[in-house]
């Protein structure tokens, strides 16, 4: 999952970037509204965390521009202005959730999780469960029946993306784009290694390889 954080306060952005990375997200950070308006339109972000009081351009303006351009990625607004009137205005401008500063980082992580699940049409409050596998996002492990299987950070990221896009054909380049921030896209061998690790832990059949096209996560039931 690749996120864009648009926040002009450097200490807060530092903290959030680190925190979100620990949560297994690939995260890009921008501080200027104009940059954000541009970059979100060209990179395939899964979610954007948007501060409203931005230098360059107001966050709400940027958000409206995205929505007018038909960009549907979920947007979580982060702002010090917490009144309901402003919250309503933000949500009407096209935001999907609204978090008022100051907040507990856990709350932000929960909201991000929820939004990502919701964007895939899942219950935002229930853990991700696909074809006999249940992902525990707080512990970064996966449950098969009653057995907890530990995952490395990279495996967790990959599995989460697969489980949120089950039964879909995912090309290697798409996986690369969504799992790694910025230009840090690894060569396809690294991905292959992680896929193989997952297969070894969960069973060969969970991820099918479509030659020349990419992978498809089908889970245990298939």
């Amino acid at each position: 999952m690749r996120l864009l954080l648009v926040e002009d306060n450097v200490p807060l952005a530092d903290e959030l970037v680190q925190g979100l990375q620990r949560q297994g997200y690939a995260i890009d950070w921008l501080a200027d509204g104009r940059d954000a308006a541009f970059q979100a339109a060209c990179e395939p972000y899964d979610l954007i965390i948007l501060d409203l009081g931005l230098p360059g351009r107001p966050g709400l303006d940027v958000l409206r521009e995205w929505r007018d351009a038909g960009l549907r990625f979920p947007v979580l607004i982060l702002t010090a202005r917490a009144s309901w009137a402003e919250r309503i205005e933000g949500l009407r401008a096209g935001a999907d959730d609204y978090l008022a500063k100051p907040f507990h980082p856990e709350e932000l992580f929960l909201r991000v999780q929820g939004l990502l699940r919701r964007a895939r049409g899942l219950d935002s409050r229930a853990p991700i469960e696909v074809a006999g596998l249940r992902l525990d996002e707080s512990r970064q492990t996966v449950w098969r029946d009653n057995e907890e299987i530990g995952l490395t950070g990279a495996e967790f990221r990959l599995l989460r993306y697969f489980m949120l896009h089950s039964n879909q054909l995912l090309s290697k380049s798409r996986l690369g784009e969504h799992l790694y921030e910025g230009d840090g896209e690894p060569d396809s061998n690294v991905l292959e290694v992680h896929v193989n690790h997952l297969r070894r832990k969960l069973g060969r059949q969970v991820i099918e390889t479509r030659r020349g096209q990419g992978y498809c996560f089908v889970g245990l039931s298939a």
Binding site: N9, A80, W84
Partner: protein, 438 residues
């Protein structure tokens, strides 16, 4: 209370009285003067006729009775004469037993001389020389009928004057009322200003009032400006502090602090205090700053968007209903009321299983906002502690227990009350009663 109307009326009354009295007396005096001049000519003619009637008879100088006007024969007729010869005095028969004194100087006498039977005589003396001796002829005429007429005229004029005075006062009253009408309009506007039904006075006032209206308007603007500035200052400070607070919160979750749990918890608590304080003061600053209401709360317009927002935040709710009479407009600031409803509804949504309902109804001079949910509710003995400031019962559901405190502050500012009860849906019922401003 002092009244401009009354002061103007009393002033005008005195002026008109003074002018009226002076006018009446002066005109009567002038007429009297003219009349006396005219009568003086008559008396002189009489004196000359008497002179002509003085003839030399067998017994020396005597008066030819036949030439005299009959008025001199009839007793107390009002016309008298007296002719002073060096050795004798003739008096008209009409004077009867009245002694007409010879005036000390010739010509018309100033003032009137008391005559017989209450008469007042106008006396004229002329000196001649005839048949070699000096004659002093004094003719007198009763002036009393004219004096009486003057008195009558005076009364009549006073009566007419008084009547005119009343009419003038009435007209003046109407006039002043019409003239003060713009002032009354300004007064009504100031009243509306107080009730918050307008932001400033109409600048199209009459010329005399324009400076006042301008002053009030610029004062309003000034007050509004400084209020907004101080409110913004509080707001900016508050909002500026929120980001560093968020950073601190985030720093507290660092793995380095895992070994220092008590410290982390204490700092977390202190941050909670700062945060709550900040949110409430920000809310309070906004509340106290709202002298001139911006927009009122239009139910038809605001409730659907509020509900949409809540549905977005709480997608698990199947049913969120907002009921209000169509076209209801709540006379409180839109943002503040949104804050109250948003916080209460958000709270209900957090606890509800599937259903939350809001109903707004007007009950006499009160407005009842009722929020119900089908959640677990709150046990009766816990309700009072829930209402205690800043506390929270929901340690699991995210939130800072702040919403209710902010709602309470706002309701206190509006003189409203908040009550908790059992909802028909099964969960908690929150009743907010707001007295409608007059």
């Amino acid at each position: 209370m002092r009244s401009i109307q009354r002061r103007l009326g009393v002033g005008l009354l005195f002026i008109l009285l003074l002018v009226g009295v002076v006018m009446v007396n002066a005109s009567i005096w002038l007429v009297d003067l003219g009349l006396r001049r005219y009568l003086q000519n008559g008396l002189r003619d009489e004196a000359e006729l008497l002179l002509i009637a003085t003839v030399r008879g067998p017994a020396g100088i005597q008066l030819d009775e036949l030439r005299l006007s009959p008025a001199y024969q009839r007793p107390l007729s009002g016309s008298y004469f007296r002719v002073d010869l060096p050795d004798q005095v003739w008096r008209s028969r009409s004077s009867w037993d009245f002694q007409l004194e010879r005036p000390t100087r010739s010509g018309l006498q100033h003032g009137l001389v008391d005559g017989p039977g209450g008469q007042e005589l106008l006396v004229y003396r002329a000196d001649f020389r005839r048949f070699g001796s000096d004659l002093s002829i004094t003719a007198a005429q009763d002036y009393r009928p004219l004096s009486l007429a003057f008195t009558q005229v005076r009364w009549l004029l006073s009566g007419i004057g008084a009547l005119a005075l009343l009419v003038v006062l009435l007209l003046q009253w109407l006039n002043v009322r019409a003239a003060l009408h713009p002032l009354e309009r300004v007064r009504l506007q100031v009243l509306q200003l107080q009730q918050g039904r307008r932001g400033r006075l109409d600048s199209e006032a009459d010329r005399e009032l324009a400076p006042l209206v301008e002053q009030i308007n610029s004062l309003l603007q000034h007050t509004e400006g400084s209020l907004r500035r101080s409110r913004n200052a509080v707001g900016n400070l508050g909002h500026a502090l929120k980001t560093p607070l968020a950073v601190l919160r985030s720093l507290l979750t660092r793995a380095e602090l895992d070994a220092l749990q008590p410290l982390r918890r204490q700092m977390d608590d202190q941050l909670d205090v700062v945060e709550q304080r900040l949110a409430r003061e920000l809310n309070r600053a906004r509340l106290s700053g709202e002298v001139l209401p911006g927009a009122h709360f239009e139910c038809d317009q605001e409730l659907p968007t509020l509900c949409d927002t809540l549905r977005m935040i709480h997608p698990h709710l199947c049913q969120l209903s907002c009921l209000a009479p169509p076209g209801l407009r709540l006379p409180w600031d839109r943002e503040d009321l949104l804050e109250v409803l948003g916080n209460l509804l958000d709270n209900a949504c957090k606890w509800a299983l599937t259903q939350v309902s809001l109903s707004i109804e007007q009950d006499g001079q009160e407005l009842l906002l009722r929020i119900e949910d089908d959640g677990p509710g709150v046990a009766e003995q816990l309700r009072s502690s829930l209402l205690a400031r800043g506390s929270r019962l929901d340690e699991q559901v995210p939130g800072h227990g702040l919403g209710l405190a902010i709602v309470r502050d706002t309701l206190d500012a509006w003189g409203g009350t908040l009550q908790l009860g059992n909802a028909a849906l099964g969960g908690l019922r929150v009743d907010v009663r707001l007295p409608l401003p007059n």
